[in-house]
């Protein structure tokens, strides 16, 4: 018998033996989650570190997926992407639709132990109205937000604005409630004191290493099974640790070995490997993002609507999506401004134009518009593989109908900076994360790069804003009109919906449900 003297060598041999045994018995995966278990730490490998965790200050996904464990708003989305109360008990609207009275749930407390009062709500909403683009838009209709008593606020409107409650529940730069003292200390800068009401408390942030949240023992949960970001929330795990791991292969290796319980945003070409491993579960996130060609409507050739339409007819979305994303499992050709899962706002208007490549029509529109070979600059980034891959196909497609194209590739911060200047570009490629209301669609705003101004759309959005949420038929008709305008005026040429790939280790993480971004309440670990 050979004695193994080196402990390292012994460990190595033991691992090899264990590995060979595991390979010999692939079916021996751990059983399902069973009953929820309290305790443990959820380890999450994220693809990016947020610039701030103040959810009122940033639209970034990296901010949101950490922040919504800490902060909560008066309203939030349920599992069907419809707005339901969260911190609010409920609300009443005056008959003229100009006064909203919102009652807070009783017994709510911030992480610092202070009760949540109407003063905190008023201060938080006013800050949101200054910081967030959705808030700024909403506050154009608001005359004042005032405290009625400690548990009630009133919002007085200058004009009917039906999306008020929807916008208060929008997860993009959300109208979260923070203590008045934090609001005053932060002003318009991102808050550094991260005090909310959510099921997890901010514990520490070691830049480049980890963000750690701890269970909020005093969390006052709702009881309804609404899913999404509202309803009953139970913090089973003691901690959630978010690790920024920029290399996707390392994120995948980490979740395979169990070092991480879940890895975010993996490249779609890893999907076969995920499927082959019984310990891993692929979460294909269908309400994720759609890609589009954004036109400069303030300067250059694309101020002419006919040339924007020409691009729409020059494109073949299936080729663009295949090049950008790869396997068909991860993309879908759909004309909607919203995702099919968002039943309240989804429309298929424009389906007769979308995904109908017609090169002759594109050339005819170019001729009609008097295009004579002016150079068009197409900006893309290699920071997101799909983005530059899309440009690789889009450029020859545009050249095929006669556009003179100059592709320019930048890192993402540079592209963000250049796109803000009207004379530097004609087209840039970007992805749009889900919006929840047409008034919150970012490229409908006249100040967002692209600088879209449309009287028709403004009138339609005004009608939408004054149509009560309860009038579903009228809203459906209006939504169809808005989407028809989108396909007529083409502020952005939609390419297609693409799905995200999150992967979790099913022997360790249980109770996890798919949503447009990851959440870890009602989820537990067994390790």
């Amino acid at each position: 018998m050979v004695a193994v003297r080196s402990p390292l060598l012994a460990r190595l041999l033991a691992c090899l033996v264990a590995l060979s045994m595991m390979r010999a018995a692939p079916g021996l995966a751990a059983p399902g989650g069973g009953e929820p278990v309290r305790g443990g730490v959820i380890h999450v490998a994220t693809n990016a570190e947020p610039g701030t965790i103040d959810w009122q200050s940033s639209t970034a996904t990296a901010t949101r997926l950490v922040a919504w464990h800490i902060f909560e708003g008066l309203f939030a989305l349920d599992r069907n992407y419809e707005v339901k109360p969260l911190l609010a008990q409920g609300y009443a609207v005056s008959p003229d639709g100009l006064r909203y009275t919102i009652r807070l749930r009783q017994g709510l407390k911030f992480h610092n132990g202070q009760p949540v009062t109407a003063d905190d709500v008023v201060a938080s909403l006013e800050r949101w109205g200054k910081l967030s683009s959705g808030g700024q838009e909403t506050f154009k209709a608001i005359k004042q937000v005032k405290k009625v008593d400690d548990g009630t606020i009133e919002i007085d409107l200058g004009r009917a604005f039906a999306p008020l409650i929807t916008n208060l529940g929008d997860p993009k730069q959300a109208a979260v409630i923070m203590p008045k003292s934090v609001v005053e200390a932060s002003g318009l800068k991102p808050a550094t004191e991260l005090v909310g009401t959510g099921p997890y408390i901010f514990k520490r942030w070691t830049p480049g290493q980890e963000i750690v949240l701890a269970r909020n023992p005093g969390y006052v949960s709702r009881t309804e099974d609404w899913g999404g970001i509202t309803g009953r929330k139970v913090a089973y795990a003691d901690e959630i640790d978010f690790f920024p791991v920029t290399d996707p292969q390392v994120r995948f290796s980490g979740v395979s070995t169990g070092q991480y319980d879940l890895a975010l945003e993996l490249p779609q070409d890893l999907y076969p490997k995920v499927k082959a491993d019984p310990h891993l579960t692929a979460d294909i996130v269908r309400v994720f993002s759609w890609t589009g060609v954004v036109f400069n409507k303030a300067h250059g050739v694309f101020t002419d609507q006919r040339l924007r339409q020409a691009v729409l007819f020059a494109m073949k979305p299936a080729d663009l999506m295949a090049a950008a994303i790869g396997p068909k499992t991860f993309w879908q050709l759909d004309p909607g401004l919203f995702f099919p899962e968002q039943k309240g706002v989804y429309s298929r208007a424009g389906a007769e134009i979308y995904n109908h490549q017609n090169l002759d029509r594109a050339r005819a529109l170019m001729k009609e518009a008097g295009y004579h070979g002016q150079k068009i600059i197409v900006m893309s980034t290699k920071d997101y593989t799909w983005n530059n891959n899309t440009a690789q196909v889009l450029v020859p497609e545009l050249q095929a109908v006669g556009f003179s194209v100059e592709p320019q590739v930048y890192d993402w911060p540079t592209l963000l900076s250049r796109r803000a200047k009207q004379d530097l570009w004609d087209i840039f490629l970007t992805g749009f994360s889900p919006s929840i209301d047409p008034t919150a669609i970012i490229f409908f705003g006249s100040t967002w790069p692209g600088w879209y101004k449309s009287e028709t759309l403004e009138q339609e959005l005004a009608k939408w804003s004054s149509t009560p949420v309860s009038d579903a038929a009228a809203r459906k008709k209006l939504m169809d009109q808005i989407q028809t305008t989108f396909y007529t005026e083409v502020p952005v040429a939609k390419i297609g919906n693409y799905f995200g790939l999150e992967v979790y280790n099913n022997t360790r993480l249980h109770g996890y449900t798919s949503y447009f971004d990851v959440r870890f309440w009602n989820t537990w670990v067994t390790h």
Partner: protein
């Protein structure tokens, strides 16, 4: 000697001045905006302008340069826009992992490179020498991130001997700390070992051809003694130059390896800061690294004198 050292240290002032101004201008001239990065891609121009004003980024660039330089001369590198702490503190916090990684990688590289280089010189044209040359070629040719990813696949995924990524502070135990640095250190050391070993081999071959080595052999000294007493010490002087520059190279190599292995070191800090356009941190780290380069070069020059009595500074 003291005058020499003082003179070299005084030369730091123009270095800091040139590096500082160049880096400041370069990073402010490239497009990109920390306010836009903080606010996310959906932020409006008005929101970006609002935050730029709050952060003082809307002032003319020369005003920002003068204010920054005033602070640097007072020893204050400013505050990070994202980390919300002084830059010097951020560098201090990130120095530990980089110092540990660099020291471990250099120790590994030296432990492999010097003996194998000397041995290859001694057994010149042998099979060992040919295998050694192949190792050197691979070491200098393969990028460290690729070595790192393969090490992860082999020793963290297939044989779960080490963690895939992440850093464990030495305060939580020397074993876990070494475990977290082992794979990145090997990835970094592989390249450095190639460079150092080649220099050790070549300089040993040169020394072995010297008259005094022939004299030593003719006196009847055995080969081991010739190598140890006469050849290696003299061969180490040119090797030392490579070791000095390789230490500095390790700092730049660490940028990539720290990103792959998610080590919160100086390399990771600078990569993150560049992608976020965190100007004060980029400026501070570049100044710090320039300082390290100058000091390392000075130390190598001083070590020459220790190894070779003919070299004197005065």
């Amino acid at each position: 000697m003291a005058r020499y050292v003082a003179g070299r240290l005084a030369a730091l002032v123009p270095v800091v001045l040139v590096v500082g101004v160049t880096v400041f201008l370069l990073i402010h001239l490239i497009p990109g905006d920390p306010a836009q990065v903080i606010l996310g891609p959906d932020a409006s121009a008005a929101q970006v302008a609002q935050l730029r004003h709050a952060l003082g980024l809307d002032r003319p660039i020369y005003v920002q340069l003068v204010l920054w330089f005033e602070r640097v001369l007072r020893g204050d590198l400013g505050n990070s826009i994202f980390l919300r702490r002084p830059v010097a503190q951020a560098i201090g916090e990130h120095l530990g992992p980089t110092a540990g990684l660099t020291a471990l990688a250099e120790a590994l590289a030296l432990a492999v490179a010097i003996p194998s280089g000397v041995l290859a010189a001694w057994k010149q044209h042998s099979r060992f020498d040919q295998a050694f040359m192949l190792f050197v070629l691979l070491g200098v040719s393969i990028p460290s991130f690729w070595t790192g990813l393969n090490l992860i696949a082999a020793f963290a995924v297939s044989i779960r001997l080490f963690p895939v990524a992440g850093y464990v502070s030495p305060a939580r135990g020397i074993g876990p700390w070494l475990g977290s640095l082992a794979l990145p250190a090997v990835a970094l050391a592989f390249t450095q070992a190639g460079l150092i070993a080649r220099m050790a081999r070549d300089s040993t071959i040169d020394v072995l051809a010297e008259d005094y080595v022939r004299t030593a052999r003719s006196k009847g000294l055995d080969e081991a003694a010739v190598l140890a007493r006469h050849a290696v010490r003299n061969a180490l002087i040119p090797t030392l130059t490579v070791v000095g520059t390789s230490l500095a190279n390790l700092l730049s190599g660490a940028v990539v390896v720290e990103t792959v292995f998610v080590l919160p070191g100086i390399g990771n800090l600078v990569v993150q800061s560049i992608s976020r356009r965190d100007y004060p941190v980029i400026e501070g780290v570049v100044l710090f690294v320039a300082l390290v380069y100058v000091v390392l070069n000075l130390l190598v020059d001083l070590l020459y004198a220790a190894l070779d009595p003919r070299i004197q500074y005065g």
